[in-house]
Amino acid sequence: KTKQVHGSSGINAEYGGEKNGSTREVPLQKQPRFYPTVDNKKPLNNRRTPKPTKLRSSISPGSVVILLAGVHRGKRVVVLKQLPSGLLLVSGPYKINGVPLRRVDQAYVIATSTKIDLPALPEIGDAIFKRKGKPTKNEKEMFIDNTPEEPKISPEKVALQKEVDALVVPVVKKTPMLQSYLKSRFTLTKGQYPHEMKF
């Protein structure tokens, strides 16, 4: 009974009844019941994919670097790689100076000219460093401390640290005095001016 009208998005539907008119055009797609009073402009599509921060030419995987801020300030540390977030992945190695697998911004770091040949390392990304959110409590449990005792450092991190150390420490031991160099901290003494020093 229905026939699409040529050249329109409607259908000629037949209606019964004397005074109803025999046919009327019914649109295939109904108009929405509601539309806004103001035509808001849609923002343009943003298809940019940000690239990781440009690494200083003096920093590369395997270079020894001095940390300038944080708990481990002054410690000399090995750069493992640049993570996709742009931060540097750094490790003491933990066995040598107590710096674990850690993320560091290259702005908080002095790059030294000392480099070591890193072997192939396991894949590490930003995901391991993501903080775990606390579980939300409902009204009844709000004043009851139900949190289970969790170890401060996840066992997977510990295992990963051991794995990486086992690969990096032997390379460090090859260079004479490099291990004790990484153990020591960087300090400034009288007459030492960083802008005049070569690293």
Binding site: T112, T114, S180, Y181, F186, E196, M197, K198, F199
Partner: protein, 133 residues
């Protein structure tokens, strides 16, 4: 003419190079030439020169070729590099180019050397104390 090193001169790239004073221009300036040290013949303020004890026998205003001959005959470059002055300059330059790791190794070497010295000193001191008693 006297051989001198160029100290802090206006022409920074020639700093520290050996040149021979070929002639005196006026109260403040000398004509200077360093054919064996890569410095072109030029005028320079006396204040930018530091005199060395070496001299080469050339006539005043001698041309670069003559200066070079006299320089090589007197073996100035060799004598200069053997002098304590030149050695001190070289070690100062080396120290300024040390990397952080090099500085660490230097510190450890100094400590090791001082330990040996102090042990010997301690022995001498103890011997002297005993001798006093």
């Amino acid at each position: 003419a006297v051989v001198s090193t160029q100290s802090t001169g206006a022409h920074g790239d020639d700093k520290g190079k050996l040149v021979a004073i070929v002639d005196v221009i006026d109260q403040n300036r000398a004509l200077v030439d360093g054919p064996c040290s890569g410095v072109g013949r030029k005028d320079i303020n006396f204040k930018a020169l530091h005199l060395t004890p070496f001299t080469i026998p050339i006539a005043h205003s001698a041309r670069s070729g003559a200066v070079r001959k006299a320089w090589e005959k007197a073996e100035v470059t060799k004598k200069w590099s053997e002098s304590t002055w030149a050695k001190k300059l070289a070690s100062r330059e080396k120290r300024s180019q040390l990397s952080d790791f090099d500085r660490f190794k230097l510190m450890k070497a100094k400590q090791a050397r001082n330990r040996i010295i102090n042990i010997e000193f301690g022995k001498l001191r103890n011997a002297a104390r005993k001798a006093k008693k």
